[in-house]
């Protein structure tokens, strides 16, 4: 309520000439006010769009009270959310010439203050998704900056799927990078993720090369038998999705391995006290060299050493032959978002503990980033998998063909154990874990497996760094 003469202290609104959403020019009468002396037209103090009327007709307020709010940032002719909702669909369906009067009905201010052409053009304009958002921000969810487009193109990202956090819902560089990271897994390896899922996967290329697989290649895993009539109703609502190529391959290889190998699983329990102590001892120095020393690296190192003493475990079954391998090409199962891959660390017998830790981190990181070379997924002679991350304590993994065994490192948990001391037995708390190994009874027997596992266990329980 403006000051209208020295002695006027208050005024009463008679009538508003503009409504919220209307455009008003500076100095254009916006409302009529009566005071005890005179009736006056109140001019708008600025050009803009009337956002809100704060004082209703008939109300008396003191001088200085805000009567209405004008959005001075608004542009004439720009659609107001209300106008757009009222006209958008209808006007767009009509010829431009008719759109103008249609708009005029619901938005008189627009036709008063803006040329008819622009109103018509506005009505023809893009549909609601390009209208200003509720908070007044322009919708920029469809605008993609050069860098966002380039990254999306490079990584084959459908930008419609990326949620924008920038102004007006704009997809920022960080949004698309986060999307890619979520899709492909953290490339920087800051978070150590589980290296395992139950069983390894080998790519198609390797399989296609093997004649024994040729017959099964065309027949993916047998489809589940069609459920009997009526069961669907009992199951309730469902969703059906095709398997990814990787999922199909895993299904095929695992079924095939189950059919091929005579699976047995042997389990030993190992005390990780020495490993834990050694890890504490070495960890900081290795970290400074950029290597994250994991329990898995210790197990891998002990396994590789033991494999050299137990060649039957580092072998393949080929028909009626057993093929012994001189090198230990160690497969490490790496879990992906949907599926897993088993990159191979070649000639792992040459690696020290630190080299092993670095090698595992390297292949795991590249596996998650999708940057492994096809050759790196082939030629393994023994596989280690590590589902302990999720707290699993026992598993019976499936062998990756044509290898004869797969070792599974489970969760390392503190357990009460009986220890023998000079004063007799006592109970102590030690970090313990089960080493579960599935092996192929075609190629070896239970005694071989137990001796091998015992060797691994002994090495872990008296761990010394060699090399």
């Amino acid at each position: 309520m403006p000051q209208m003469g020295v002695s006027v202290a208050e005024g009463t609104i008679i009538e508003w000439r503009k409504r919220p959403g209307d455009w008003v020019e500076a100095d254009e009468p916006i409302c009529d006010v009566t005071t005890d002396k005179i009736d006056v037209e109140i001019p708008a103090p600025a050009s803009g769009r009337v956002e809100a009327i704060l004082v209703e007709p008939g109300t008396t307020v003191a001088v200085g009270t805000a009567l209405a709010r004008i959005d001075a940032e608004a542009k004439p002719g720009e659609a107001h959310p209300d106008e757009n909702a009222a006209n958008g669909g209808q006007a767009a369906a009509e010829p431009a010439a008719e759109a103008a009067p249609a708009a005029a009905e619901t938005a008189p201010a627009a036709t008063e203050d803006a040329p008819t052409e622009s109103t018509a053009a506005e009505a023809e304009g893009p549909p609601a998704e390009h209208a200003p958002a509720e908070n007044g921000e322009e919708d920029r969810s469809q605008f993609y900056s050069p860098v966002v487009r380039r990254i999306a193109g490079k990584h084959d990202v459908d930008l419609e799927q990326v949620k924008g956090t920038g102004v007006g819902g704009r997809v920022r560089k960080k949004d698309v990078l986060a999307y890619i990271e979520a899709r492909e897994g953290a490339p920087d390896g800051r978070t150590e993720r589980a290296l395992h899922i139950e069983s390894p996967y080998r790519p198609d290329e390797a399989e296609a090369a093997r004649p024994s697989e040729a017959g099964t290649e065309a027949a993916p895993a047998a489809p589940a038998a069609a459920p009997p009539q009526g069961v669907e109703e009992l199951v309730g609502p469902t969703r059906r999705e095709p398997m990814s190529v990787m999922r199909q391959a895993i299904a095929r290889h695992m079924t095939e391995s189950r059919r091929t190998a005579a699976h047995c699983t042997t389990i030993v329990e190992a005390d990780f006290s020495r490993v834990a102590a050694r890890r504490r001892e070495l960890r900081d120095a290795m970290r400074r060299r950029g290597v994250n020393l994991t329990y898995l690296a210790f197990v891998a190192r002990a396994t590789v050493e033991a494999l050299q003493e137990h060649p039957r475990l580092n072998a393949s079954v080929d028909g009626t032959d057993i093929v012994y391998h001189d090198d230990v090409n160690l497969g490490i199962a790496v879990a992906l978002d949907d599926g897993l891959v088993v990159p191979v660390i070649r000639r792992a017998q040459r690696l020290s503990l630190e080299g092993m830790a670095a090698g595992i981190a390297d292949v795991a990181e590249r596996a998650r980033a999708g940057r492994l070379e096809p050759d790196e997924l082939q030629g393994g002679t023994f596989t280690i998998t590590n589902p302990g991350q999720f707290g699993a304590v026992l598993a019976t993994p499936i062998i990756s063909q044509p290898q004869v065994a797969i070792l599974d490192l489970e969760a390392i948990v503190k357990r009460p154990v009986v220890v023998e001391g000079a004063d007799g037995d006592s109970i102590a708390i030690h970090p313990m874990s089960y080493l579960c190994m599935s092996w192929d009874h075609r190629g070896l027997d239970g005694a071989d497996a137990a001796r091998f596992l015992g060797d691994v266990k002994a090495r872990l329980e008296s761990f010394e760094v060699s090399g």
Binding site: S145, P146, V147, V148, R149, R150, G166, V167, R170, R172, K173, K174
Partner: protein, 343 residues
């Protein structure tokens, strides 16, 4: 690092008792003085000329004590005639001397414009004659100096091929860039922001210390956006980054001609969002050139329009509140950064 030659009988202002190759905390002003003194001790052909720089020691006391140490003939008081000062320097430089001219205020360089842009800048191109001279330009506002004592004229000289332009933001760079400017075989405009003279203090290497011309400096590393600045705006950007507590990179250009293209583009490509900030006016300023460079060379790395924070195209007002309104302030910097971060 070699120690400076002993100043035989001179005023040993270079921290008596400290190791000659160590660092010493200096103000920006002291660092300029130290750089000038170091070069004058090292090289007999270096001399200064300017208004009131001799017995009086200069309007801002950069050459305080120079007459006593080097004699009046190496610290020449000149008449109030910038064209003559620069013209004399061009002649001396062409003859193999290394003159350092002081404009009492950068604003006055317009009086010496012809000698600088037409003679000094083109002599090597036309006749193969090197002109190893420096013009010191006390620039910048913020102290109610009005329209004749507050300007930032650097952009004029970016349009005169043959000139180099440097604008240090720290005391260490103030010394190091002055030393490099003196040793450079080309005419170099040396912008020294008056607002930094006594407000900026940092560790400056004593004795030999040269900062290469043409290399920007990452004053603060960051990932989310880059503020490209120089002179006083570097400090504004650093403070804004601290107060906003955001991952903002601050690139201190240090040299404006030739621009460190690689440094600028590397930072722009990394963050994808760039604010170019300077106290000088907007149109055809350094910011315009930097923005154009980035859009030309790294368009596909941009995640936001390159924005500028500058003074508007107006003279610098005398009135303190008006001057504050014209010169970019900390809040302006924070707002500009905030907008780009949110973009």
């Amino acid at each position: 690092m070699t120690a400076p030659e002993a100043a035989a009988g001179g005023l040993a202002t270079a921290a008596d008792g400290e190791a000659p190759s160590g660092n010493r905390e200096m103000t920006y002003l002291e660092a300029i003085s130290d750089g000038l003194r170091t070069e004058m001790r090292r090289d007999e052909s270096v001399f200064c000329l300017g208004e009131d720089i001799g017995a009086f020691g200069g309007a801002f006391k950069v050459t305080d004590g120079f007459v006593e140490e080097f004699g009046a003939e190496r610290c020449l008081d000149a008449p109030l005639a910038e064209n003559a000062i620069i013209g004399a320097a061009v002649g001396a430089a062409a003859e193999g001397m290394r003159p350092v001219c002081e404009m009492q205020f950068a604003d006055f360089i317009s009086c010496g414009f012809d000698q600088l842009v037409n003679v000094a800048a083109k002599l090597h191109y036309r006749q193969g004659v090197a002109v190893p001279m420096v013009v010191r330009l006390p620039s910048g506002g913020g102290f109610s100096g009005g329209p004749f004592h507050s300007q930032n004229p650097e952009a004029w000289f970016l349009q005169a091929p043959g000139l180099k332009v440097v604008a240090p933001a720290t005391a260490s760079d103030a010394k190091g860039l002055l030393v490099s400017a003196i040793r450079d075989p080309n005419p170099v405009c040396y912008l020294e922001h008056k607002g930094l003279y006594r407000h900026v203090k940092d560790q400056v290497p004593e004795g030999e210390h040269a900062v290469p011309i043409g290399e920007a400096r990452i004053a603060r590393p960051g990932e989310e956006m880059t503020v490209i600045a120089y002179g006083s705006s570097v400090h504004l950007a650093l403070r804004a980054a601290e107060e906003l507590d955001e991952d903002i990179e601050v690139l201190d250009l240090r040299t404006l001609a030739p621009l460190d293209r690689e440094g600028i583009l590397a930072s722009a490509r990394k963050t994808g969002k760039v604010l170019v900030a300077h106290e000088a006016t907007r149109t055809c300023g350094v910011g315009a050139e930097v923005a154009a460079l980035i859009t030309e060379e790294s368009f596909e790395d941009l995640d936001a329009p390159v924005r500028r924070l500058t003074a508007p195209d107006v003279p610098i007002p005398f009135s303190p509140p008006l001057e504050q309104a014209v010169l970019p302030q900390l809040d302006d910097m924070k707002e500009a950064c905030g907008e780009l971060l949110a973009y």
